[in-house]
């Protein structure tokens, strides 16, 4: 329904405009005064809408998708088995994984039977979608809260395994590890009699028929 255009009749004080300007000046003055006072308050984050970046960092949600890390399990073993699922899931194709077999005597280091001999993420291409994290069967790769990722050379943005493990150590020491993911409740599949794709009216008819039969 289109609404009819109602032309507002302006009163004389509206048309003179000066009164309206003075009202507007009052409004902007309120904002100015509020923020002006806020500037002199001690503390880094005084003006509510402004974060003064280097001193005044925003709070990051625990499930934020920042720099990646490779997790260790509770025994201090690398969780990653080098299956390459993350590399396949990655839409930006920026993960390179090479699998290696765990030799005898190395079981204390790796959780699985295989491990990743090489693990590289090209952070210049990564779009921080978090698909790698979702795809990993072992929960070995996780996106952390670190977001200050600028470097002076492109080579430094190519994260290797050592760096990814170091990210984990850092996050652990700062207490910024991601909380465990809640299991997603799986719904029971709908009965086959009324497929979802059918229009509602048709579905109703089917139900009615069934109802009559039962009666």
């Amino acid at each position: 329904m289109a609404r009819p255009v109602v032309k507002k009749e302006f009163s004389l004080s509206d048309r003179v405009y000066l009164i309206e300007i003075i009202k507007g000046l009052g409004l902007t003055w309120k904002h100015f005064l509020f923020n002006f006072r806020a500037c002199f308050r001690p503390g880094p984050h005084t003006v509510p809408t402004c974060w003064q970046y280097p001193e005044d960092l925003r709070e990051i949600a625990p499930i934020f998708r920042g720099a990646h890390m490779l997790l260790l399990d509770e025994k201090g073993r690398e969780k990653c088995v080098g299956c390459g699922m993350c590399a396949r899931a990655c839409p930006a194709k920026c993960i390179t994984v090479k699998r290696g077999k765990v030799q005898e005597g190395e079981e204390g280091k790796y959780a699985g039977k295989t491990y990743c001999a090489e693990f590289k993420i090209d952070m210049l291409r990564c779009i921080f979608c978090g698909f790698c994290e979702e795809a990993c069967p072992k929960g070995a790769i996780v996106l952390g809260q670190e977001y200050e990722l600028a470097e002076y050379t492109p080579e430094k943005c190519l994260y290797d395994k050592a760096r990814l493990l170091a990210n984990y150590e850092k996050a652990k020491s700062e207490g910024k590890l991601k909380p465990a993911r809640k299991p997603v409740p799986v719904e029971a599949p709908p009965p086959k009699a009324a497929p979802k794709s059918k229009p509602k009216a048709a579905a109703k008819k089917v139900k009615e028929k069934e109802g009559t039969k039962q009666a």
Partner: protein, 346 residues
């Protein structure tokens, strides 16, 4: 008549002072804009960002000076100069205080007390449009030329109510000299109001204010450089210090206009009900008059910034309509009433 030395000292003083104010205004405008819009504005260079204009100056000076290939080289170079020069020279006849008595010599705080100071201001004020038009024309850019044309039409339209409002003030004070106008505003009016121009010429003051905003190309009359319509108007093609001159000239213009408003309508250096010269020494009085004058001017400088971030820009036809259909008739009525008033009270 004062010696040459004193005159040169005064010129140098007012020149540096105006430059300082214009420089500070660039910073105040941006911080004011920020605070009004719930932001912070430039606050990194120095305490509260006060050295930001310095950093900007260094940047403007060291930037590459680009002249468009098809531009008219001479006009392109002349534009900013023609814009900034009148802006600076207009202040010559506007007072910045009463007088200082130093070693028995009386020094008036004004570069030149010209008896036709008023005419000088009007003449110089309309000069600055040449800078804009020539700059816009010489750039060989459609946005620039549009900005230049708009500015011409706007300045011609608003020069009329501006001049008529000034004329009413001249009728009232009976003098062309801005210094004498300041003297005419001492004492009280009707027994209780300060004897200021605004109480005798309220309509004239409003007209003059509105026209002054248009003269200075400030919001809500910033059509020559309307960013959302014609990129940057007449200075689209300008960069480095040439652009700096344009921006600077604008602030110098604002300073001169504010000083003019204070001189004409706000009692110049006179405080209401108090005669400072009675109880202050000659030097202290000179400084106090300068300070009082400057504080009044500072309010109007801030008003320019404040209005800029409050009022949206007018449409072009609205600007012309306001100028020709409202301001000029009102200015004529104002002039008529003032003439009657002067005739019957004299």
């Amino acid at each position: 008549m004062e010696g040459w030395g004193i005159i040169i000292i005064k010129i140098v003083f007012i020149w540096t002072w105006t430059l300082l104010i214009a420089t500070l205004m660039t910073w105040i405008e941006r911080r004011g804009a920020g605070l009004i819009q719930d932001r912070l504005g430039p606050n990194r260079a120095g305490p509260f960002g006060i050295f930001q204009p310095l950093a900007d100056g260094i940047k403007l000076f060291t930037k590459e000076d680009i002249v468009p290939e098809k531009a008219h080289k001479i006009l392109f170079a002349l534009g900013p100069i023609l814009f900034a020069l009148p802006a600076f020279s207009a202040y010559a006849v506007v007072p910045f205080g009463d007088k200082i008595v130093l070693g028995g010599k009386e020094i008036i705080l004004q570069v030149a007390d010209v008896s036709v100071g008023f005419l000088y201001i009007v003449a110089i004020g309309s000069m600055s449009v040449y800078g804009i038009v020539l700059g816009g024309w010489g750039s060989n850019n459609k946005y620039s030329i549009l900005g230049g044309l708009r500015s011409t039409a706007q300045l011609i339209s608003y020069e009329v109510p501006w001049g008529l409002a000034l004329l009413a003030a001249v009728l009232l004070y009976g003098t062309f000299s801005l210094r004498d106008m300041a003297f005419a505003q001492q004492g009280v009016f009707l027994g209780f109001l300060p004897n200021w121009g605004i109480f005798k010429q309220p309509l004239g003051f409003i007209l003059f204010m509105v026209a002054a905003y248009a003269e200075a190309n400030r919001v809500p009359f910033d059509l020559p450089e309307a960013e959302s319509e014609i990129v940057a108007g007449y200075h689209t093609e300008y960069g480095s210090m040439r652009l700096g001159l344009y921006l600077f000239g604008e602030y110098v213009n604002i300073y001169t206009l504010s000083a003019l408003i204070v001189t004409l309508y706000f009692g110049a250096w006179n405080l209401p009900y108090v005669d400072m010269s009675k109880f202050l020494g000659p030097v202290a009085y000179g400084l106090a008059s300068f300070l009082v004058f400057f504080l009044k001017v500072a309010f109007f400088l801030w008003l320019f910034v404040w209005v800029r971030w409050t009022v949206p820009r007018f449409r072009y036809d609205q600007v012309m309509g306001l100028g020709w259909k409202s301001l000029i008739p009102l200015a004529l009525i104002n002039l008529f009433i003032t003439a009657l008033f002067v005739q019957f009270t004299a």
